[in-house]
């Protein structure tokens, strides 16, 4: 479904991705794990078009998206739920959700999708007129997820969804992400919590220093001695 081919990119003089290739198959939950600074976030930002590729290619369902700007990426069906939630703090919960549907023109369908998200997250419904900046971290994460789904993506990318959340909220967030996969939306997950990510994914890639050094099913990576030692603390 999504193919990243030899992607190179960086900021200024620093090369963050040294030519990575990987694939996300339709219907799967694919995890990208690695240490801080390994290039996980950069990979997602490159796919979204926020960071330009210096070399390499990007293909989504046979559509070449190399060099495309973020609006075109979103339009082709890839949504990106960014690290740190990044809700629009001075806009209401409802306005945030509507921003997720910014490119859609089917207003009644958008309203129906919004109601579905309110059904899923009743807390958001209670706070729909409240500024998003006043929500708790967990509520903001639900809002960020809901907002990403409002574009009706075929692939959603989550960047560190568990970051800074209380353990029970982390559990809940992972359950939601599994359910998104189970309802047919493909997921690309970037996560520092390696065990949780490997445990729930269908396929995983390990990034080190801007290179993919390992790939396999979640179970294979969990069993790998290097992964166990460096990332699972076993």
């Amino acid at each position: 479904m999504l193919e990243v081919i030899n992607a190179v990119c960086g900021y200024g003089g620093v090369t963050a991705l040294q030519g990575i290739s990987f694939e996300v198959k339709a219907g799967q939950l694919v995890a990208l794990i690695g240490a801080n600074g390994a290039g996980k976030s950069t990979t997602l930002r490159a796919i979204s078009g926020l960071v330009p590729l210096r070399a390499g290619a990007l293909r989504f369902d046979n559509e070449v998206l190399t060099g495309a700007r973020p609006p075109r990426i979103l339009k082709s069906g890839i949504a990106h739920c960014p690290e740190g939630r990044r809700v629009f703090p001075h806009m209401t919960v409802e306005e945030n959700l509507d921003m997720g549907a910014y490119l859609r023109s089917d207003r009644s369908e958008v309203a129906a999708d919004r109601d579905r998200i309110y059904g899923e997250f009743p807390r958001l419904a209670e706070r729909r007129k409240q500024a998003a900046g006043t929500l708790s971290g967990g509520e903001q994460q639900m809002l960020a997820i809901g907002r990403a789904l409002m574009s009706r993506p075929r692939l959603v990318m989550f960047d560190e969804p568990s970051l800074g959340l209380a353990p029970n909220i982390v559990e809940r967030t992972f359950a939601i992400i599994r359910r998104i996969r189970d309802t047919g939306t493909t997921v690309l997950l970037v996560e520092q919590n390696a065990f949780a990510a490997l445990d729930m994914c269908d396929h995983a890639y390990l990034l080190e220093g801007g290179r993919i050094v390992l790939s396999g099913t979640g179970a294979e990576l969990i069993a790998n001695p290097h992964v166990r030692k460096a990332y699972l603390g076993a």
């Binding site: 979204s48 926020l50 949504a79 960014p82 990044r86 629009f88 001075h90 806009m91 997720g100 910014y102």
Partner: protein
Amino acid sequence: MGELFQHLINTLVLGGTYALLGIGLTLIFGIMNVVNFTHGILYTFGAYVMFIVVQKFELNFFVALPLSIASGWALGALVELTLLRPLRGSDIDTTMLVMIGAWIAMQSATLWVWGGVAKSVPTPFPDAPLEIGPVSVSWLRLFVLVAAGALIVLTYILINRTRLGSAMRATFQDQDTAALMGVNVNLIYTSTFALGSSLAAAAGALLGPVYVVYPAMGDLAAVKAFAIVILGGLGNITGAVIGGFILALAEELGAGYISSGYRDAMGFLIIIAVLIFRPTGLFPRAERVG
């Protein structure tokens, strides 16, 4: 007592246009972070377009006003596309220098094209003022007040109730995330600068006929706009409206009860006082746009 009412009605007329100037600048300076020295020129430009359309093309005053606002939008868009877009991401000093250059160039162009002689814009309003008890107000000023009020409300609706407005607010709260929502961020920068510029042009188009039109008329207007933005808090539209009326009140009362020579000093006094006592503006906690 009658004198006070007269000052208050004058405050409303002046304050409405000051609010337009202030909203325009708070969008550009407060939100886009561009120290916009062309704001005064856009004010001048709006007044000249008014003059030309009414005088040279002999078109109706009420047709000239929207044309003037639209021209301000177009000129603002042009400035953003040619001068600011190539500088996106550079520091505030660089854009400030470029905007000073643009200010000097555009003001000189005004002088070159239209000469330095002050012009007056003919208006369709009767000469006799409207008298309400001890207060008298010209029909033209009354129109300025109503038009400014309408434009303030329209701007408020545009920013808070439309798709473009949502995209603007999202962009200036979090540019990358707005892009991830599908917002064309470059287009939003251009639109915001154009909107701010069109409001400056609107203020000039409304006040030009009240006074006279000349190339340097925008210099003082620009200083006042900065005073209003500092008073109201950067990026705060409601603050800019209130700030506009406060400045107008200070000017009216200063001119009426102290000395008319102090009228234009009020803006500077307000900047100094606010920077000393409330450096974040009078309404820092009020809702910001971005």
